[in-house]
Amino acid sequence: MATATATNTNKSVLWDWLTTVDHKKLSVLYLIAGALFFLKAGAMAIFMRIQLMSPENTFLSGQTFNEFVTMHGTIMLFLAVTPLIFAFMNFVIPLQIGARDVAFPFVNALGFWIFFFGGLLVSVSWFFGGAPDAGWTAYVPLSGGEYGDLGLDFYVLGLQVSGLGTLVSAINFIVTIINMRAPGMTMMRLPLFCWTSLITSILIVFAFTPLAAGLALLMLDRIFGGQFFNPGSGGNPVLWQHIFWIFGHPEVYILVLPAFGIISEVIPAFSKKRLFGYTAMVFATLIIAFLSFMVWVHHMFTVGIGPITNSVFAIATMAIGVPTGIKIFNWLFTMWGGKLIFNTAMLCASSFVPTFVLGGVTGVMLAMVPVDYLYHDTYFVVAHFHYIVVGGIALGLLAGTFYWYPKMFGHMLNEKLGQLMFWMFYVGFHMTFFIQHILGLIGMPRRVFTYLDGQGMGTMNLVSSIGAFMMGAAMVVLLINVVYSAYTSKRITVRDPWDARTLEWATTTPVPEYNFAQTPQVRSLDPWFYEKVHGDGTMKPAEPMDEIHMPNGSILPFCIGLGLFVWGFGMIMMQMENPLIPEWIVIGAGVIVTFGSMMLHSIHEDHGYHIPLDKIKKTEKEVS
């Protein structure tokens, strides 16, 4: 292949970040975008808790509350947690498998920008008559043309676009993990975070496509007069629920499995022991992924599908408790007898275990059909899934942040502020959500914007709100920590500040753009630990030092994302009363930009460039 000259000279910072295809930079972009969406959705939660602090409060109107409920759920699941997980997957997977980059660096950037512009499309709904207000599940007919306003069009088109970004990223991760592993890195030596990321990516491929189909049906119903969900013309509203939950249930596992993976990296590192039951962990993950597609009707027990169907899905749901239990015990046995170090990362990771058990127990309670008729649509459900998504996923993400921060940014986060954040978050979390179980059991329905006095709900709601404020304050402490540590923390120059076990800690800090000057030879599970104990503390190279092939950056991913945004906005304009310009111009422009950019990428053969040998040697000398 022709060697193009190095082109990465004299680029402005902005252009560099807009065109980057480096997985480490994209990881930072994901982290920033995800954190911003997280703050937005978290602020909405705080506002909702202020509204619910006292009976018959008038802080928010019912309409605003509905919009906040919808946007809080939608943003948290699609636009906050998903990109935060992708940030870690992007940064860690290539390093852990000993690769120079992901399989398709271009597609990696494409996934980010499509996701970002899709999220933007959902978010701009505030400026066009209000956000979607039909709940994150957008059940028809509430979300249909008759009752749903323009906000629902933003929901449908925005999620369609951002889902596409998530899908292409997932395909990229699957190929990366299967094809790009370093010599000796067999599947059963793969770090558990890579395993859970692989399974999550497979789940995305098989769960986001039904969502895309379902959103397309809803769009056709709303904008083009389709009759899918209109019983008057032979349609069926329950169909939406089926399609949504065939996506929606695996979605929970899509989010929680990488958190499991992070926990499975952090706990061994700070227990100074290898992960207990590695093989069992891998197979438990596989079983969870398989079962996750078999349980969607447990969200629909009260629809009236029939006792036999309900029983089958109830049993399948309870069965998920078994592989999850295997994981819980494996984490406990990993810590058992280990030299435990309770820093912030380990505090988050180890407290994840009991919290997640609580969420799992209420999950099995909800799986019992007869009592589900009582729990359904009460705060008991709200408490249950927040124990999974906050007590599970958020704690996992916090653990991952504190654990990988030194590798990503070259300095540690402040430990005192970190522990303060942890305790505020942890206490606040249980205050907010534990009491909501009881609120649900005494009959408080979810998604209501207020409740009457004298029903015994006032005090418990107040406690819940105070807990939420504590969690909010904890997030402020985390933000302060990020800024404070950036100025005061010592630069890290060693490879491995935690004395950890996996391959990402074998790279120099900061990680050079090519990750590994020589692809490492992997000789064991936990290869870095193996070399520290049995070798000379460095990875054996699997290839001679040579010039390194790198991909060129490209602005086309940004253009494709922008094109899809314009297209989606044009589709929404078809529903607007008086759009300023004809909508077909906007739609056409979006389609031309999107497909034109795709065609340009296909026509223009870009073979990348090679980093010359002397430059690599110079970089290696500088960092070590």
């Binding site: 597609v107 379902g214 389709g226 013309s233 032979g234 089926h242 399609i243």
Partner: protein, 207 residues
């Protein structure tokens, strides 16, 4: 990483998978097709759930005619065959044959698309089944229309590749591209076989 392949003695036997990039594309595209399968499955499920929801409008057995669908099926199946043969030519490094067979594939694809447009036109203007008539109409047009959109995309993909590489011969860079387009075309063909069975045969056979 050594993605350089010795081509001094001609192309390797499987040029589409000879480089790491080719291998990655090959696997990634199969995964993508897995996702596409699930998306089509959702549309199939929607159609099966709603096909009796005619709301007093025309029903499937009143509208469909087997001869037309038979011709369309034959056109698409033959185009799939020529696409396979084109890939055989590619593996034998016979560039000219590959291009001719791909052109035949594209022509057959356009013929299929023409019949489909004619079919839709007939149903709307003479059969009385519009997209908004009934849930059956919505689900029929969205399922078969989605397939038609895939055919259209596939045709433009083939044409772009043929124009771009009209003079280059088979290289290790374009072999994976032709191969993926061909895979995509087979996928469309397989989906059509299911549409033929589930939508047309089951309606006319009364299943």
């Amino acid at each position: 990483m050594s993605d350089s392949v010795d081509v001094s003695k001609g192309l390797p036997p499987n040029p589409e998978k000879a480089t790491l990039e080719g291998k990655n594309k090959f696997l990634g595209f199969w995964v993508f097709l897995g996702g596409e399968t699930i998306m089509f499955a959702t549309f199939f499920g929607t159609f099966l759930g709603l096909r009796d929801g005619t709301a007093g409008g025309p029903t499937a057995s009143e509208l469909f005619s087997l001869p037309l669908v038979f011709i369309m099926t034959m056109l698409l199946l033959t185009s799939s065959l020529t696409s396979v043969l084109a890939m055989y030519s590619m593996k034998k490094n016979n560039f000219r044959n590959m291009m001719i067979l791909t052109v035949v594939t594209v022509i057959l694809g356009f013929a299929f698309l023409g019949f489909e447009i004619y079919e839709f036109y007939e149903y709307v203007h003479h059969g009385g089944l519009g997209f908004t008539t009934s849930a059956f109409g919505s689900s029929f047009y969205s399922l078969v229309g989605l397939h038609g959109a895939h055919v259209t995309f596939g045709l433009f993909w083939f044409i772009t590749l043929m124009l771009r590489y009209s003079r280059t011969g088979i290289t290790l860079t374009n072999a994976p591209k032709f191969y993926l387009a061909s895979l995509y075309w087979h996928f469309i063909d397989v989906v059509w076989v299911f549409i033929f069975t589930v939508v047309y045969l089951m309606a006319i056979g009364g299943a």
